[in-house]
């Protein structure tokens, strides 16, 4: 085997570039900002990106499949509202948490049903459900907020372990990360996700049940949005209808930044982890530099553009080099 040259797809070099870029941002931010490399700030970066990371693990599968779910932030809000509402109605916290996860899963299932069974485009469906789920959240909880939750759970959402930089949610995120990494890279389910994303027709000929596969991915994206809704609720000790507004863009930009192809079929968990941490680190750096929110939004937009254009430009330059080498 060793004598054979191993094919290295261009995306792999993009994954590596993002990890290097993350390192560069860390070094630059540490040099230019006093408080960047402190355990408190690192803990903030992990905390602030926790919901993005949780949703991104599932959304990665969605984008690899060649689909998209723009309703994740609304599913987060609706799950959060159902958690707060059922707890306020007197349900024990464990039951409220189950309701939260069940609502997230149900929303994801509805998205999946509309896309796979009715054959509608995921972009159009999830733009619709983005508004619908947020609207239902508003209807349930209105202008009110629920902010009384058991201290054990709010400290889980906010605290760190002792004086370390590790937020209490971090082990859960690591477990999810390992689970999804194995699911994507080591199981038939993951291999089939990649196969469907690259060619639906080839996957169908290979006997893969594409409809069922997509239904599962839509449903667990809803479930993970529910988990993110739970973490968000406990982190801010607030259940309200506008929780997580705009989070879907941050999730998508972090995923694309992590080398996942918007056209489907290509992506890795480590790329996504690096993409989320890179976006979170840049955000933290800009905040510490006291750069205002508008500029931070502009930077997010630029990152999104780089993440889409970067791999394409790298690929084109590689092709150009190959053509040149062929001519010479």
């Amino acid at each position: 085997m060793a004598i054979f040259p191993k094919a290295v797809p261009v995306r792999k070099s993009w994954d590596t570039a993002i990890i290097v870029l993350l390192f560069v941002v860390f070094v630059l931010a540490s040099v230019t900002t006093d408080n960047f490399l402190t355990s408190l700030n690192i803990s903030y970066i992990f905390s602030n990106t926790s919901e993005i990371m949780i949703i991104a693990f599932a959304m990665l599968f969605m984008i690899i499949l060649g689909e998209i779910d723009l309703s994740v932030a609304s599913m987060l809000a609706l799950s959060s509202c159902m958690l707060g509402w059922s707890y306020a109605q007197g349900a024990p916290i464990w039951l409220a948490m189950i309701v939260c996860l069940a609502v997230g899963s149900l929303c994801g299932f509805i998205n999946g049903f509309l896309v796979t069974k009715l054959g509608l485009g995921s972009l159009a469906v999830t733009i619709g459900t983005l508004a619908l789920y947020r609207g239902i959240a508003n209807g349930i909880i209105g202008e009110n907020t629920v902010s009384e939750f058991p201290e054990f759970w709010t400290s889980f959402g906010f605290d760190t372990f002792g004086t370390t930089f590790m937020p209490k949610t971090l082990p859960m995120i690591i477990v999810f990360g390992i689970f999804f990494a194995f699911l994507l890279h080591r199981t038939p389910f993951g291999r089939r996700t990649l196969a469907i994303g690259q060619s639906v027709e080839a996957a169908k000929f290979a006997g893969i049940n594409v409809v069922r596969h997509k239904m599962i991915v839509f449903t667990f994206t809803g479930f993970m949005s529910g988990v993110a809704g739970m973490v968000y609720t406990f982190r801010f000790s607030t259940s309200q209808a506008d929780n997580g507004v705009g989070l879907e863009l941050l999730v998508i930009s972090a995923i694309l930044l992590g080398g996942v192809s918007i056209f489907g079929g290509i992506g890795t968990i480590w790329g996504v982890v690096a993409g989320v941490l890179l976006a979170g680190s840049v955000e933290s750096w800009l905040t510490l530099q006291e750069i205002n929110a508008q500029w931070r939004t502009i930077v997010t937009g630029i990152l999104l553009l780089i993440s889409v254009a970067g791999p394409v430009l790298v690929s084109k330059s590689k092709q150009r080099r190959e053509r040149k080498a062929l001519k010479s």
Partner: protein, 252 residues
């Protein structure tokens, strides 16, 4: 030849909106024979193979009988499990995935924990590549399919059928846009399938290819089966003249 059919289609019809793509198709396929399925564009050849491979469902009332057993809820996974493999030009392989990922697509080898046995898949693919004559050291099981030539791609698709012990292999225009040497390679692969006792449905626009490998001809015209008979002593010229008749009169 065993006279009990491997697969039998009874009353297969398929409509797409107002278009009748297939009309009352009755067809038997026997073990170890090569059937050349021919007809003009829009005759319904691909639709028929899609129905046999389970990627398209027939209209209500059709019967698919495999080894004497009528099949209910026929789908692609079931068809593949029961040994029906389809080889389509450019479509049955995922180009950006590696050769080994394509070979095992949908039928990954897993350990007792449900994880893919990657090394074993690579090893088996390597052995398979040697078996089908991939002597070039440029290609490895990791090579993406898009780097292979048309003939080599078909080799991968056909070898997949061999590896999983398929009893019926359907090849839809497997030699389209190929160089002559590559076409010869594919024809060799097809005869090899027959030598191993497998049945083959071969679809081609090229009447010489269709004639060369066939044991039996099945001709479709605008969704109808207009001829089904053994090759016997029919020469290539006679076969082409039959096709001309069908194109002109709709019958042989």
């Amino acid at each position: 030849m065993d006279k009990s059919p491997l697969i039998e289609l009874i009353g297969v019809e398929k409509t797409f909106g107002r278009v009748q793509a297939l009309s009352n198709i009755n067809l038997k396929l026997y073990e170890g024979e090569i059937v050349s399925l021919v007809g003009d564009n829009g005759a319904g050849k691909t639709t028929l193979t899609k129905i046999i491979s389970g990627t398209e469902s027939a209209d209500d009332g059709a019967k698919i009988i495999l080894r004497g057993q009528e099949q209910k809820n026929w789908n692609a996974a079931k068809a593949r499990k029961l040994g029906i493999e389809t080889v389509h030009q450019n479509r049955a392989l995922s180009e950006q995935q590696s050769i080994y990922a394509n070979v095992f697509m949908g039928r990954e080898l897993v350990n007792r924990f449900g994880f893919v046995k990657r090394k074993e898949q690579i090893k088996e693919t390597e052995a398979l590549m040697r078996k089908i004559g991939y002597t070039s050291k440029v290609w490895t099981p990791h090579s993406p399919v898009l780097k292979l030539s048309g003939g080599e791609r078909q080799g991968v698709a056909i070898s997949r059928a061999i590896l999983f012990d398929s009893s019926l292999v359907m090849l839809d225009e497997p030699t389209t846009a190929m160089a002559l040497s590559e076409q010869a390679e594919v024809m060799e692969f097809i005869l090899n399938l027959k030598a191993q006792g497998r049945s083959v449905i071969f679809i081609s626009h090229n009447p010489w290819d269709a004639h060369a490998v066939a044991d039996r001809f099945v001709i479709l015209d605008r969704g109808r089966l207009v001829f089904d008979g053994p090759k016997g002593n029919t020469t290539a010229d006679e076969f082409i003249s039959m096709l001309r008749d069908v194109a002109k009169k709709g019958s042989v």
